[in-house]
């Protein structure tokens, strides 16, 4: 959703303003999709998908093999912090490895949320290796329906 502030509007309509607007939109679009191509170095474990609706923000992360007790989710102000440790998965002592692609180790990630959230109403669960965190938006940032009176 594009938010237009009054300050963004030129006082006089310039013939270039439309191009300027398009350029701004393209920049926003590139910024938004930029992460798709640049997979690799800058990415931090765990990878997250974030969605929102009018009441909540939903954060999903892939954390296969991380036990719930080794996962620590906290919210400080507008920052969501996900920390944890992934222990080696059930390999006994006397084993010889043929392939070893699954990693183990610690991780921590902080994400700045787009809006203020109600820190008392944060739910986190892990189901089948997917962490889902539901954060209720703070009352003051929820959209409010304005009633239009007639007459």
């Amino acid at each position: 959703m594009a938010i237009i502030r009054f300050g963004d509007r030129p006082f006089f309509r310039s013939p270039w303003s439309e191009f300027e607007r398009m350029r701004r939109d393209m920049d926003a679009l590139l910024q938004y999709w930029g992460g798709e191509g640049g997979r690799g170095e800058a990415m931090v474990y765990p990878l997250l998908n974030i969605f929102e609706d009018k009441d909540s923000i939903y954060v999903y992360g892939e954390v296969p093999g991380v036990l719930p007790e080794n996962l620590d989710v906290s919210v400080e102000g507008e920052t969501l912090i996900i920390k944890g440790e992934r222990k080696p998965w059930q390999a006994g002592e006397d084993v010889s490895f043929h392939r070893r692609e699954i990693q183990s180790g610690t991780f921590s990630r902080a994400v700045t949320l787009p809006t203020k959230v109600n820190t008392d109403r944060v739910e986190a669960r892990v189901v089948d290796g997917i962490l889902s965190v539901t954060l209720a938006k703070a009352e003051e940032v929820k959209p409010r329906q304005v009633e239009i009176k007639i007459g």
Binding site: P46, N49, F97, H98, Q103
Partner: protein, 132 residues
């Protein structure tokens, strides 16, 4: 090893013949394979796949494991997408000394564990010669 920081492993798309019927992304799950005297164990990373979504088959010495993700991870408007969802498919050839009848699969916390027990080496059998 203890304090190693986890790195993001990019997901690899399946590269093999045959197009999927559904226009869906297919990924190769990361695996660990280890062996003991008694069994070969395959551990595969399949986040988002429930027990019911797992299918393991063994045909002509080829072990195929597929994981079908359950939905319900999309809500409202997207703000950020870092990982893609799709099916997981991986195949391995299995040697003949595996007891194919007793392969066990378990799915916990998005990790599929397959235990392939080995057939114990046949003990030499004495055949008695019957006197006539």
């Amino acid at each position: 090893m203890k304090d190693k920081e986890l790195q993001v492993q990019p997901k690899h798309h399946v590269q093999q013949g045959g197009e999927p019927t559904k226009p869906e992304k297919q990924f190769v799950p990361a695996v660990d394979i280890y062996e003991t005297d008694k069994a070969v164990t395959v551990v595969a990373e399949m986040p988002g796949v429930a027990k019911t979504g797992i299918e393991v088959s063994l045909e002509d010495g080829v072990l195929t494991m597929t994981g079908e993700r359950h939905n319900g991870l999309e809500k409202g408007a997207l703000l950020l997408r870092e990982f893609d969802a799709g099916r997981y498919v991986r195949r391995f050839t299995v040697s003949e000394n595996i007891d194919q009848e007793h392969i066990k699969a378990t799915m916990v916390h998005g990790m599929l564990t397959l235990v392939l027990p080995k057939i114990p080496p046949a003990s030499p059998r004495r055949i008695e010669v019957q006197g006539g």
